[in-house]
Symmetry: C2
Subunit: 257 residues, 2 copies
């Protein structure tokens, strides 16, 4: 642990999640920590921003080298509040988002509030890392995620990477010594198919709960994040934020008059 | 107008937005329309999904060839509700999301509820098009967006494109005859920088409104969507949903042990 660097930490499970404390533990290895997390759970909030209601920021606690705030907004709101207000003018060296309770591999990167914040963090000129554990339990065991998160971030920072850089790191459920290693992967191609859970309210009105199942369209592809996690590896996917599909441009130019 | 195809329409401004009626007008050129839009404005909701409260679906109106529903959820919830419940088992030929009141060019594609829904639509095996007009006004003039939206979609459908296909179409403020043409572009590189508007509530407690300014880092690049719009063209950006940055994989493999 040193105090040379300034690390910003956020998440999508809220400021009192066990995984948030684990992310602060990772961050403390690298320097001083300023953290802003949502007041309430913001899972599935993607890169959403809050446009139509005001945001209240409050300090939750402060101790040696760690300041923690809560914001009544989305994960991306937390990042913007840090860089464009609370830490404005200070050099931030690293963003850590997480540690998420649940996988953000494959297409989950698009729905995830954890990864929404990590992507947003990469817009502000420092490496940004989303950390997730494939365990939704509130009391999940974060030991392996803390250890591998720290190791991966140390390696990446030591390499002085070109920016922007955003990483989607997922850790399987295992004790640290059971992890088989780290794989740099591509995002698995697969989608969720939902099953709406139908219920009736006390007045007989129908309503639905969104619930679904991830369908892995390529379970045999050994270069994907889903494969790595299923086989006991930590997955690291570099995420870019230019969503242009360059491979389609020329074809579309031929078609659209 | 014909009734051969089945078109699903959604948006992020809500079921009673003028732009939503404009999107249904575009869709009616191609076939029968089933539309589900959010009950309330969902701008900036990205690809968010609703996990922690139930969803109520209600029919708003039905007329010749058009059924309109409202859902108390996000734009992506609307798409999932359509494909995985309301239209389950029926072949949908096209998704239209919009027409958004406001630009979704450049990095706005990541924050936009309109584009979140368009991306989600592309996961279900049909072409999916997000349409946006660079005018936030509630009573904006959608004539050019309707005309160019129809023309672009007709060209794309006639080409029987490979799937998945997701397009981000933006139309500048102009009368149809003033539009200089259509450009297939890449997503402009630029970010928002926020300025938090500080206020105090009646009890003296500080709060903030998120407000910002888009910073175009490459205003001279003629191949971007921002350039096209600034010069009177309709922009079309093909959007892909594999966010892996393949260019970084080998370098990371060298770095992470």
């Amino acid at each position: 642990m040193n105090n040379d660097l300034l690390i910003f930490v956020t998440n999508d499970d809220g400021y009192d999640a066990k995984g948030f404390a684990a992310a602060i533990e990772v961050a403390r290895h690298f320097g001083r920590v300023v953290a802003i997390a949502p007041e309430t759970v913001q899972s599935g909030m993607s890169q959403a921003i809050t446009m139509y209601r005001p945001l209240f920021l409050r300090k939750v606690r402060e101790e040696e080298g760690v300041e923690v705030y809560a914001l009544n907004g989305t994960p991306v709101d937390c990042v913007k509040m840090a860089f464009d207000h609370l830490l404005l003018g200070r050099k931030v060296d690293l963003v850590i988002s997480g540690i998420n309770h649940g996988s953000n591999a494959a297409v989950n990167v698009l729905y995830s509030g954890t990864m929404g914040a990590a992507i947003e963090g990469s817009f502000y000129g420092c490496p940004s890392v989303g950390l997730s554990l494939t365990d939704h339990a509130a009391d999940a065991d974060f030991d392996a995620a803390v250890e591998y998160g720290r190791r991966i971030i140390a390696d990446v920072l030591a390499s002085k990477p070109a920016l922007p850089l955003c990483l989607n790191v997922n850790v399987p459920i295992a004790r640290p010594e059971q992890i088989r290693g780290v794989k740099v992967c591509r995002q698995n191609r697969g989608f969720w198919r939902e099953e709406f859970f139908r219920r009736e309210d006390p007045r007989g009105k129908e309503y639905f709960w969104l619930t679904g199942e991830f369908v892995n369209h390529e379970p045999e592809s050994e270069d994907t994040d889903e494969w790595a996690l299923a086989h006991g590896y930590v997955s690291v996917v570099p995420v870019h934020t230019d969503t242009t599909d360059y491979s389609r441009m020329e074809g579309l130019r031929q078609v659209i008059r």
